[in-house]
């Protein structure tokens, strides 16, 4: 019995390096997906709010609807196998980046759109009244406020995207989940143990990421416009 426990501990000890390498890959993937989603999501949101009908109905909304309505795993396969059937040779990483990046862009665009629309129209009027172009008003007045408001909902998106990186193991990328699978396959009867360790790692990464975002929210809060803390029992 004791020997068995020691065996298990040894297994965990031996697994840690490869699991950590997998964790690093997972974090890199999440940052890539979120970064892509941010860079594409902002123009989508701005286009939806301020664009003309053509931009809104023929560009933004179709993209958003497409990527929100199809399961992530299906998107991954569509981009990976779809590309090769079109004779495009996407590496698994590029296919994953496009599928998961656009997917996150679709979700992020709706976070930012909501934030932009919650800003008083007087802010835009005042910016235009001192001679700012629409672009400058969005860049210097609207987005700085909208991004601050977005942080709490964005931390949700961060948690989702990080956890969804586990899906790309289906394309053969050796992130945390796939490293875990390797260990399970190499040894015998350790599935639960390995996956519990994986779960713990995901939990910690999400937890500390959310804490970091909480810190940013506090750091960049606008006096008088903080997310209201409920202080009474009412």
């Amino acid at each position: 019995m004791e020997e068995k426990l020691i065996d298990k501990l040894l297994l965990i000890g031996k697994s840690v390096p490869s699991l950590l390498i997998g964790t690093l890959i997972s974090i890199e993937l999440a940052l890539a997906f979120l970064g892509f989603g941010f860079v594409v999501g902002i123009p989508l949101a701005v286009g939806e709010v301020y664009g003309n009908k053509f931009v809104k109905y023929l560009t933004v909304l179709p993209i958003v609807e497409f990527f929100r309505s199809i399961p992530a795993l299906v998107l991954l396969f569509l981009f990976y196998f779809g590309a090769s059937s079109l004779n495009l040779n996407f590496s698994p990483f590029i296919a994953a980046l496009l599928a998961m990046g656009f997917r996150s862009a679709a979700y992020q665009s709706q976070i930012f759109r909501g934030a932009i629309q919650s800003i008083d129209v007087g802010q835009m009027l005042a910016a235009r009244s001192i001679g700012m172009s629409k672009f400058k008003a969005i860049r210097y007045i609207i987005l700085p406020q909208a991004l601050r408001i977005s942080i709490p909902s964005w931390s949700n998106e961060y948690a989702s995207v990080l956890k969804d990186t586990s899906l790309v193991y289906a394309l053969g990328i050796t992130e945390l989940m796939r490293q875990g699978r390797y260990i399970v396959a190499r040894t015998f009867g350790n599935a639960i143990l390995v996956y519990v360790v994986c779960a713990l790692i995901y939990f910690l990464v999400v937890h500390f990421g959310v804490k970091l975002l909480d810190f940013l929210e506090e750091r960049y809060k606008i006096p008088g416009y903080e997310i209201k803390k409920v202080t009474t029992r009412a």
Partner: protein, 252 residues
Amino acid sequence: MAQTILKVEDIHKSYGKTEVIKGVSFKVKKGETKVIIGPSGTGKSTLLRCINQLDYLDKGRVWLEDVEISKSPIDINQIRASIGFVFQSFNLFTHLTALDNVRIGPMRVKGMKEKEATKIALEELKRVGLEDKKDHYPAQLSGGQQQRVSIARALSMNPKLILFDEPTSALDPELIGEVLEVMSKLAKEGVTMIVVSHEMGFAHSVANDIIFMDGGIILEEGPPQQIFKNPKHERTAKFLSKITQLEGEKAK
């Protein structure tokens, strides 16, 4: 004969089928303070918005000095940069301090260096008596202080004229005075202003010229003595007596 800064000719504006402004014309001379009074819903605020094209006009022409600004193509951003606008609800940029609110125009619209823009911004904050509040965010200021910062924001662009859209209507009674004081001071300094207001005391003592609007047209225009003492129209007299009566009741 002072130079004409703004000329408005036969402005019309409709929202849907309702015509709000039905042909308004007037001129503003350099250094003049023109106060527009009249009952609610007669298109006074709309008129101001049409002048700097925060709202499109349906018909009519507007000149700023010698340039017709209602004609396209025109760089409307450049025009707006030289016409200040003070809103009823202040509309200070909530994520910026008082100083940043005032210097963002010179920096981002005029392309000034930060140092130069800061110098101008501090001067304008001093002009409205709020130099010591420069690091406060809008939400940390009283309504009156916010409105004074927004006046400084308009002044920092060194505008040819400033449009005031009911600048004291959103303020608590005890805060109205400090804003009107700043505006009176600016009028004395020769800042050209068009003020839509219900403050009859201010209109009486500061305006060079008063426009009475009703039903989307200018019913009467003239110096305060004439409008308040000998209004030509019965409608004007009625409006003024009602307002003074209200103010009298408030005083009680």
